[in-house]
Each structure stands twice: as C-alpha cells, then as structure tokens.
Symmetry: C2
C-alpha cells in the first residue's frame, strides 16, 4: 500500500485521438510495471494533481514521474517542477521527476527501427 | 542524386539543449538510413523549407517526412500538411508525410524498457 507509484506523464490534449496514441504508448509499461499510472500535464484527465492526490488518499507517499516527452523544454524545466513542488507542499508526498524518456539512447535505437520499418513498407 | 530523401522532422525550439536531445535521438537513424536529414518545424534551423529546397537544388524530387513526434496533434494534422502542400507547389517536389513515430508499437516497447531501466537505477 505504501509502495512507490510510477506516473507516466504525457503533455495532454483535448483531442481524443492524441490521448489514444499516448494510452497505446503507455500500455506496455502499465502492464509491466506495478503501481504505474498515466497522467496528463494539461488539457486532459487524469491530471498529475488527480493521480497524486488519489495515490496519497490510498496511502502512497512516494511517487516517480517519468515524462513521456522526447526532450525537455519549458514544460519540463519549469512548469512540471513547479507543479511537483506545489503538490509536495500540499500533500506531504515525495515526488521525484525523472529525465524525459527521449534522453535515453534506447529511444534513438527504437526510432531507427521504426524509420527502417516505415521505409520498408512504403517502397 | 535523384534518390528519395528522408527527413526526420522535430518540433524545434530556441533552446539548444532541446535541439541537442533531438540530434542524439536522430543520430542512429541518420547513420543507418542513407539520404536522411533532420529538420525542424519551427524555431530552429535547418527548417523543413531549408532541407527540402536544398534537396531539390541537389536534384532530389522525392522526400519522405517522418515526424519525431509521439502523437499527432494540431501541428501534424494541420500545420505540417499545409507546409508540405506549399512546398510541393513551389518546388515541384513530391513530399510524403509518414505517421508520427509514436504511433508505431515499437516505441511503446522502448518506453517500457526505458522506464524499467530508470526504476532499476533509482532503487
């Protein structure tokens, strides 16, 4: 009940097709990693706020936020750290922010595989 | 000289660290796929316009644009198709737009591997 929760944080969009793509992207992780959830930074639910507060209500005190972003721009350098700081203050939870997934070299390898596949299919 | 050129299209940012991350992400593809380049939709050079015009000047007539985006939002549904249509009209080139890399299930698998690695390192 008190184990660390993992939150896959996507940007968020009012477009359902956009959210569907992120839910598919998150699915293998949500299946493989226990206590993992998806949350949206803005424009969609569940928000980061919702998922943290729900976790705290259920007894969780430690969270790791893994951004489903290819690179860190203003959102990950400023907005998300500010949201996390406010949530830590208001809930007492400890929330760790991981680097965006795109900073891991595995992503570059996967992109290469995707491009090679797409080119193979289109020729 | 007339072979198809592949353009990895990233969003673009005025932040050099952001561009550095995308250049690292693109590197394995640029090394593995001949005639491939990176280009930015906005806020950074080389722009899509620059890379297409450069290719056309060097004799290329066919291009495939692969978006380094996790999902298709307004940019990929409206802005990029409009840019491509204008470039086709003004240059006579044929420019194909691929789905964003995030729509390929390989990306979801890579995300799972990255999250598992990050959690392994942080515990």
């Amino acid at each position: 009940m008190n184990s660390r929760r993992i939150i896959l944080l996507a940007h968020g969009s009012s477009d359902k097709r956009w959210r569907d793509t992120f839910e598919s992207l998150a699915e293998p992780t949500l299946e493989a990693v226990s206590n993992s959830r998806i949350a949206y930074m803005e424009l969609a639910e569940p928000s980061l706020d919702t998922v943290i507060r729900e976790g705290v209500a259920e007894g969780a005190r430690e969270f790791t936020v893994v951004p489903l972003f290819l690179a860190a721009g203003r959102h990950l350098r400023k907005d998300v750290p500010a949201m996390i700081e406010a949530l830590e203050r208001s809930t007492g939870a400890s929330i760790e922010l991981s680097p965006p997934i795109g900073e891991n070299p595995l992503l570059g390898q996967a992109i290469k595989d995707v491009v090679a596949l797409q080119l193979g299919q289109s020729t």
